[in-house]
Amino acid sequence: MEKSKEFHHYLIGFVLATILTVIPFTLVATVGGTTSYVVLVICAVLQAVVHMRFFLHLSYKGQQREDLQLVLFTGLILLIMVAGSIWVLGSLYARM
């Protein structure tokens, strides 16, 4: 019972991840252009979320919730660092 549920979980994750891989590949191969890059980035972010949810089993419940908090915090700090660096050095570059 428990095992088949887990298998289900992985299967959903696999299907979602496949779809999110196929979409950008087809777009880049057939359409191209700026729009497809935007879609590509969105798919990449969604893909990361799918991996965390279905393969790393992050959720809102119990022990997993603490892990989720850490992942979100990591995301926040990375965002601050990367976006901040780009902003700071970009501003400097523009004024040089």
Partner: protein, 692 residues
């Protein structure tokens, strides 16, 4: 062309040889300091031989017990503090006499402020705090040890390796002259081809890895090993700050390691990350360095805040006021500390928008910090306050740290910063935050928790004198630097020509001597307390009427910390248990306790780390390579060896634990009025009048 066997190392690299060949005052001071290393080493070995302490020493060095590792961190930090204080005093005395040229050469002075800064931040403040966290956190959360005891030992070994490199630079070669922040391009190969910057970046790189590992270790410990029933909102405040510090360590140390590695690639392999030509951008070093450097400030201050949050309720016999607020403020500070790094380079040419954004973010940190100060004040209010040594530090902290914080708010304003940056005002500001904030917190914490590890209290009389010396010394040394900075005196000035600076410089120099006195009193304090340890013993483990779990075990705490792991139902579990009279009730069932056995892992990695660093600094490639391979092999061997555990039989635990509980039940205990007398054997008798 470097020698394949000795690299760049030659007889002339040794300071003592330089002194003999070409005697002068500057070299005399350096070699005087350098002589202390071999002489001290020989004396230490002789002492160990004479007292036959080899075995216990090795027992400590191979121990994975978090209390012992914490104590070793603190001993290491005290030794490094000695050097830092001497250097600081030398600089202040030099500057007091530096009108139209003092007695030190500019190169020597530059090395002094560089080592002083590097040493004080990385090898004094950090080991002090990590030592305290090591000692306290597992006890406070009711665990037997940290999550990864052997990793803990490795962290200590790597910190020791970094400390070895910065110390040996005094004897062999030179240290960097570019300040503790090590900015390129001044520290690049083109301008500084010597070994100084290499010493700087490699000692920081190695100890930085150790600190990252400590962060991982304690984040996991606090997340996964809390006692049953200890939810996040029941965690003692010190553990909260330790958690936030660990997380800061995990995220803040990698930028430092990265920029050390990049600068290393620039210097060793002619990369161009931070050069002026070939596409390098030295601003990125400064950007990366402060991405580490600013959270670092909060890595240092948060545990000190934690200590203050433990001391104020204990010594006023009250619940901590505004627990939730303090937790929220701690988390707030931890996050915002990552959003302010640009205030360290306001004047380097970003747009006004960028400066304003980071200025506002910096000002915002004042809010949670203010919340904390008010919470501690409110904790004291209406309590039954005892005027012990930690309380003196707390009071000094209240007044002086607030001044430091306010001058920080001034500096956070970009327009004012344009006037004040790189002046002595800035030096005054950060010493004003770090000494009353971090150092007072650490010293108060050592005074508070020392008995838990060693089983006896530190003497109150010397403790109070030490505290007062630190406070007076700090005020005399650093408060005059504020007006001097506003008068236009720049930092890192080896000499000056304006006689208007002299009177205040004199005051500051005299204050530095006071701080040296304070350090001397620390040594006397430890020495006198060790001599009187029988009278000061507190075998029952609760000398201050403590509130959290760490006091609920004998002193010195046994290897296994708790005979049975405690269960927690409130924020002050021990106070509740004492109130119910259940604190020392007998336990029916004891179980075997498994503890990790001693290991040479950390010691070997530490020694090989020294070899790796020394080889890299002096281009002795065979040494560096052999040490590095040695590290890899050691890691693999220890990775595959089966983990050994020591099992302590239930009977042995029962014997120790029952004796302690029985003694505590039969004893009278000591009232709070007699707390600092010999009557205090570590059992608190509740006050007749309950505090508010």
């Amino acid at each position: 062309m470097v020698d394949p066997l000795f690299g760049k190392l030659s007889w002339d690299s040794i300071i003592l040889v330089q002194e003999i060949e070409n005697p002068n005052l500057n070299l005399l001071i350096t070699s005087g300091a350098a002589v202390m290393i071999p002489v001290g080493g020989v004396l230490l070995i002789a002492l160990l031989w004479w007292l036959n302490w080899w075995k216990p020493l090795l027992g400590w060095l191979t121990s994975v017990d978090h209390k012992k590792i914490g104590a070793m961190y603190i001993i290491f930090a005290v030794v490094m503090l000695f050097r830092g204080v001497v250097e600081g005093t030398l600089m202040r005395v030099h500057q007091a006499t530096a009108l139209n040229g003092g007695f030190l050469s500019s190169d020597h002075f530059n090395q002094l402020f560089t080592t002083h800064g590097t040493n004080m931040i990385f090898f004094v403040a950090m080991p002090f705090l990590i030592g305290l966290i090591n000692i306290v956190v597992p006890l406070q959360i009711g665990a037997r040890d940290v999550a990864f005891p052997r990793l803990n030992q490795i962290s200590l070994g790597l910190t020791g390796a970094g400390g070895f490199l910065i110390t040996i630079s005094l004897l062999i070669g030179e240290f960097a002259t570019g300040g503790w922040t090590g900015y390129p391009s001044y520290n690049g190969k083109l301008i500084n081809p010597g070994v100084g910057p290499d010493y700087w970046l490699i000692s920081l790189g190695i100890s930085g890895i150790g600190s990252t590992l400590t962060g991982v270790n304690f984040a996991v410990t606090i997340y996964k090993m809390r006692a049953k029933g200890m939810t996040f909102m029941r965690m003692p405040l010190f553990t909260w700050t330790a958690l936030c510090t660990s997380i800061l360590l995990i995220f803040a140390m990698p930028p430092l390691t990265a920029c050390c590695v990049m600068l290393g690639l620039d210097r060793y392999l002619d990369f161009h990350f931070f050069t002026n030509d070939m596409g390098g951008n030295l601003m990125n070093f400064i950007n990366l360095f402060w991405m580490f450097g600013h959270p670092e400030v909060y890595i240092l201050i948060l545990p000190a805040f934690g200590v203050m949050s433990e001391i104020s309720p204990t010594f006023s016999a009250k619940r901590l006021y505004g627990y939730t607020g303090l937790v929220a403020a701690t988390m707030c500070i931890a996050v915002v500390s990552f959003m302010v790094w640009l205030h360290h380079f306001f004047t380097m040419g970003q747009s006004a928008t960028v400066n304003a954004a980071f200025g506002i973010a910096t000002l915002l940190i004042g809010i949670p910090t203010g919340v904390k100060v008010y919470d501690w004040l409110a904790t004291l209010w209406g309590g039954r306050i005892r005027f012990t040594t930690p309380m003196i530090y707390l009071i000094g902290f209240f007044f002086l740290f607030v001044i430091g914080g306010l001058s920080g708010v001034i500096l956070a304003n970009p327009t004012l910063d344009y006037q004040l940056h790189n002046s002595l005002f800035l030096v005054a500001h950060f010493h004003n935050v770090i000494i009353p904030g971090v150092l007072f917190g650490i010293l108060a914490g050592i005074h508070y928790w020392f008995p838990k590890v060693f089983g006896f209290r530190l003497m109150e009389s010397y403790g109070k004198i030490t505290a007062v010396c630190w406070i007076i010394g700090f005020c005399l040394t650093f408060l005059p630097l504020y007006p001097l900075g506003m008068m236009g005196m720049t930092r890192r000035t080896v000499d000056y020509s304006d006689p208007a600076y002299v009177p205040l410089m004199m005051v500051s120099g005299a204050g530095a001597l006071f701080l040296s006195l304070a350090f001397t009193f620390i040594v006397i304090l430890f020495w006198r307390s060790i001599v009187n340890r029988k009278k000061l013993a507190i075998p029952m483990g609760d000398p201050w009427d403590g509130r959290t779990l760490e006091w609920w075990t004998p002193s010195p705490a046994p290897d296994w910390n708790f005979a049975i792991l405690p269960e927690v139902h409130s924020r002050d579990p021990f106070t509740e248990a004492k109130k119910d009279g259940t604190a020392y009730q007998p336990i029916e069932k004891y179980e075997d306790i498994e503890l990790p056995s001693t290991t040479y892992y950390g010691l070997i990695i530490g020694v090989l780390g020294c070899g790796l660093g020394f080889g890299l600094v002096w281009y002795i490639w065979w040494m560096a390579l052999a040490s590095f391979l040695g590290c890899v092999v050691t890691a693999m061997v220890y990775g595959f060896l089966p983990k050994k555990e020591i099992v302590i039989p239930a009977e042995e635990v029962r014997k120790v634990d029952e004796a302690w509980r029985a003694e505590a039940r039969e004893s009278q205990g000591v009232t709070r009025d007699d707390e600092s007398t010999e009557a205090n054997k570590g059992l608190a008798r509740p006050d007749a009048l309950p505090a508010v």
